[in-house]
């Protein structure tokens, strides 16, 4: 039992260690020292947990879906831990709080929730894990006590999140009522042959709404821009990265396993009610609205928030296709997206702490003030925009080709892919707007060089390298998924 949950246990012990070290040994030290020591402890803990997860090759299903362990879940957990490590590394610049130990331990707590989420195939455990992660994320959003925006953002995020939890629970309760089980595969078994009755439709719709909030898909996205803008930047990075990976993994799992048989069809001129058309609508709306709204943003964090909404739309296409190829394409896309997002937010965090805000104008002349940082930003934004040979492009290719391949005879899902590709062409414009500030515009004459904290620079350089390597040699990642 303990061995099955070994990675989670290790991270839990790390939480205690971080808190303990911070409260005992580091009292009276400067915030920066406390952050750095805490970060090193967290990184060691996460690395150990990740190594544990990767080194074992077990397949186990504890108590009918309460804790499922197999190489894929282990790999996704490992990806989550890596994302956490990078989040911790970009957190150390923090001017947003003096509670270093608490901040880092809550990041780790959120990670534990996400890890359990990945391993769950039972509605109740899914809900508990999701709430553990979400509550930690609400706190992370509110961490800057001196900033009223952060409080506003956290409250908004909390209220929307609470509402979505209610929807989700309502949908789950209907599923339980119809099937008499909380296990995903058993639910599917008892729903077989039941047909599309109104109760099932309500269950589908409320589940989509619940997760729609979590992954910030239109029309349930309204919390996202405010939360991203108000939250301390590393928190925003973690909301956009780690929680996305786990959420999409579980969304894909719930819909493919529990709603098997109620797929319906979203193909052109071949609409059949079910969960795929519902997702198709949400995906299409997210892609269109996210991308078009991002164009007019002048705050880079808000721009990234809307781009996150748009990317959630692309990812939902992967959920919708629900083949094994599309699922691995989805996870490839989400993981590379998460790496890129942490990187982009990391750059924003540095610029924000050097210039005081994340306005687009503050990025002017960055290529002269911090050449390394600018190069990283170039890689991250081009990857988000889908320029080869970066990971974002190959992810899109995997995802879109898997979606079209689902109905290869009639190319019935091509319409969604055409929409996605068209919108991705739009997205290029606003990423280029940021890069134009960085590389083309000149900074004010007296603007000094920006000094990037070494740990952050290391994280960003590693992330940029990962984005390039995964773009050029995607087999390294996709063969595990």
């Amino acid at each position: 039992m303990l061995q099955l949950a070994a990675p989670e246990t290790i991270v839990t012990i790390t939480v205690l260690a971080v808190l303990g070290v911070d409260l005992t040994l580091l009292r009276g030290k400067s915030v920066s020292t406390r952050f750095h020591v805490g970060a090193v402890v967290s990184i060691l803990g996460c690395a150990m947990a990740g190594w544990f997860a990767l080194a074992r090759h077990e397949e186990f299903n504890l108590l009918n879906g309460i804790l499922v362990v197999n190489p894929v879940t282990d790999f996704v957990k490992c990806a989550l831990l890596i994302l956490t490590i990078f989040t911790v590394m970009i957190s150390v610049t923090g001017k947003y709080t003096e509670h270093a130990g608490e901040y880092l331990s809550i990041v780790l707590l959120a990670t534990i929730g996400l890890m359990f989420l990945v391993s769950a195939e039972d509605l109740l455990i899914i809900f508990i894990a999701l709430e553990l992660a979400s509550l930690s994320l609400y706190i992370l959003t509110a961490f800057n006590k001196h900033n009223a925006r952060a409080a506003e953002a956290a409250l908004k995020y909390f209220l929307f999140g609470g509402m979505s939890a209610a929807f989700l629970l309502f949908g789950f309760s209907l599923l339980y009522g119809m099937s008499g089980s909380t296990n995903l595969t058993e639910i599917a078994r008892s729903l077989q042959g039941r047909g599309m009755d109104p109760l099932l439709l309500v269950a589908i719709v409320t589940t989509v709404i619940g997760f729609g909030f979590k992954v910030a898909a239109v029309p349930f996205h309204l919390w996202a821009p405010d939360a991203y803008e108000g939250a301390p930047t590393p928190s925003a990075a973690f909301i956009g990265a780690g929680s996305k990976v786990a959420s999409f993994y579980i969304v894909a799992k719930i819909f493919t396993l529990a709603f098997a048989g109620a797929e319906g069809s979203a193909v052109w001129h071949g609409y059949v009610a079910g969960w795929t058309p519902t997702i198709a609508v949400v995906a299409a709306l997210s892609m269109v609205l996210g991308n078009l709204t991002a164009i007019v943003q002048s705050s880079v964090k808000r721009l990234l928030a809307y781009s996150a909404i748009a990317h959630a739309g692309y990812m939902l296409l992967g959920v919708l296709a629900h083949t094994s190829a599309s699922n691995s394409a989805l996870m490839f896309y989400v993981i590379t997206y998460a790496l890129t997002t942490i990187g982009a937010f990391g750059v924003v965090a540095v610029v924000e702490s050097a210039t005081g805000s994340d306005r687009l104008d503050n990025f002017a002349g960055l290529s002269r003030r911090a050449p390394g940082l600018s190069l990283c930003m170039l890689v991250f934004l081009l990857s988000l925009g889908g320029i080869p040979p970066l990971a974002g492009f190959i992810g899109k290719f995997f995802l879109f080709s898997a979606v079209v391949n689902m109905d290869a005879q009639n190319l019935g899902l091509l319409w969604l892919v055409i929409l996605a590709v068209a919108m991705s062409a739009v997205s290029f414009y606003y990423y280029l707007r940021v890069l134009k500030q960085v590389y083309v515009q000149d900074a004010a004459a007296e603007a000094p060089a920006i000094i990037v904290p070494p740990m952050t620079m290391l994280a960003l350089a590693l992330l940029a390298a990962l984005v390039i390597v995964l773009g050029c040699a995607p087999s390294l990642l996709i063969s595990h998924l």
Partner: protein, 500 residues
């Protein structure tokens, strides 16, 4: 060996990035050496190719087995012609940007990245790889123009980047759809162009996918009405930028049309043949007509590029061997001549006089101040008009002969374009260099003599004139490479017709 053209260029980029920030001389030297090495490798590699008609594999290894993508570089005669063109354009472009003082090393880093991408496109025989290189060229283009350009540079750069990106996304849709269909027909995933060319796509599929992919590429080839990025982009770009845009980037589009759109969807091409020909001729006439009334010297050349690229597209639309031969030769010829014209206008004239307005140039008597520029422009102009002895003549003649056999009426319209072409070139020569207008009182700001034409510029001009003359006098040099290609099985379905 040819693969090294790509690697050398990117190695050059890395070396430039490592250079100290303000050492312009070193940056220039590294850039020139890299481009020269690339050019030499391209020429020698091309000469060594034993059977230019066949597709000769250079490298082929697994890349992403999950989707059947391979790292597959190869070359046939068409690739050879364009690789050599890229080599020449790269070297002369650097010679014509010897005076870049502002952030020199970054300029040449972007420049070489662009060149590397272009080589890559011409040598890729895997669809995904080709696409990767194709998109790789967008970002350097954008920064070259936005950072080092002139007149409305940010607008022109953004317009070009967005047009390219939209075009490549049309291609992406077609690529994904073709991949899915091919996967089901072949039984395994593949993006290898040679394998894909054996797949029979259904008629209705080709009917929709051909225009999508063709337009996607043709946007970059400057096909009317998607050409509007070209004049603004060319005008906004720095001299080397416009030389590369007209010289090789537009060829990327035309090459994609031929290799991908027409190679994969021959039925679709036959169905849309008339539409392509019509748009091509509209481009020829429209481009020439608009060039005739421009006041900005560079706009004249910009629109003339649209007109000349119309000949390439018309040649492609003929679907007979002579027309296609002409189209490929015209790609080479226009690459050389347009590069030269932009070099004269942008570097020799604009950088010295700081104006491109004909009204100002008329008062300056540039022909006397810069005799070398005047003579070079006259030579480039007559080459561009299609005077026998220069490469343009052989190319356009073949295109017209090919077109005459298929659509004689449209071809006559293209003839009108040629006549207008003579007119706008003569007008530009006269207004810019040999005007009778007396210098009036306002021209006084140019009392001091203009800086004389420098050695790198002379060398660059001589290389380009030489290339155009050599190919004009001995077209067989290139025709020996191009002609057998269209006999190869790759284009069999396109030329023989009706294999569905």
């Amino acid at each position: 060996m040819l693969a090294w053209t790509i690697y050398i260029s990117f190695i050059g980029v890395l070396v430039l990035m490592l250079l100290p920030r303000d050492n312009a001389k070193a940056a220039r030297a590294v850039a020139l050496l890299t481009a020269l090495a690339g050019c030499v490798v391209a020429i020698i590699g091309a000469m060594q190719q034993p059977h230019p008609g066949e597709v000769t594999t250079i490298v082929k290894t697994d890349w992403i087995p999950q989707i059947g993508a391979t790292y597959y570089l190869a070359a046939d005669g068409i690739s050879l012609v364009l690789v050599v063109l890229t080599g020449l354009a790269a070297v002369t472009g650097i010679l014509f940007s010897w005076n870049i003082e502002k952030r020199t090393k970054e300029f040449f880093a972007f420049y070489l990245a662009l060149i590397g991408g272009v080589y890559g496109v011409f040598l890729s025989f895997d669809l995904l790889l080709l696409f990767v290189f194709y998109e790789l060229t967008i970002i350097p283009k954008y920064f070259l123009i936005a950072r080092w350009g002139s007149t409305r540079k940010e607008y022109g750069a953004m317009k070009l980047a967005l047009y390219s990106f939209v075009g490549s996304h049309l291609v992406l849709i077609g690529m994904i759809a073709a991949w899915v269909v091919a996967k089901h027909q072949l039984g395994h995933a593949s993006l290898d162009l040679m394998e894909l060319s054996k797949v029979t796509f259904s008629a209705s599929f080709q009917h929709w996918m051909f225009p999508l992919v063709f337009i996607g590429f043709a946007i970059l080839a400057g096909m009317w009405p998607f050409h509007t990025w070209a004049p603004t982009g060319h005008v906004a770009a720095p001299t080397a930028g416009s030389m590369l845009l007209a010289g090789v980037v537009m060829k990327l589009g035309a090459y994609g049309c031929l290799r991908v759109a027409m190679g994969l969807f021959p039925e679709g091409m036959r169905e849309w043949q008339w539409a392509v020909a019509a748009l091509a001729v509209v481009g020829i006439v429209y481009g020439a007509g608009v060039a005739l009334v421009q006041r900005d010297f560079k706009f004249v050349i910009g629109y003339s590029s649209v007109s000349h690229m119309g000949f390439v597209l018309l040649g492609l639309a003929t679907l007979n061997t002579i027309g296609l031969d002409g189209a490929v030769l015209q790609m080479f010829s226009h690459g050389i001549i347009a590069g030269l014209l932009f070099g004269v206008v942008g570097r020799m004239v604009y950088d010295r006089t700081h104006t491109r307005d004909f009204n100002d140039l008329e008062r300056m008597d540039v022909g006397k101040l810069l005799p070398f520029a005047g003579i070079t422009f006259v030579i480039a102009g007559v080459a561009s008009m299609g005077l026998p002895g220069f490469s343009g003549f052989v190319a356009e003649l073949q295109v017209l002969m090919g077109a005459w056999a298929v659509f004689p009426k449209i071809t006559m319209l293209a003839g009108v374009g040629i006549v207008v072409g003579v007119a706008y070139t003569l007008r530009a020569v006269q207004k810019a260099f040999y005007s009778d207008a007396k210098p009036d009182g306002h021209g006084g700001q140019h009392d001091h003599p203009l800086e004389p034409i420098s050695v790198p510029e002379r060398v660059g001009a001589v290389i380009l004139i030489g290339a155009s003359l050599v190919i004009g006098l001995f077209p067989t040099l290139l025709m020996n490479w191009i002609e057998p290609c269209f006999q190869s099985p790759l284009f069999e379905r396109l030329l023989k017709g009706g294999s569905l």
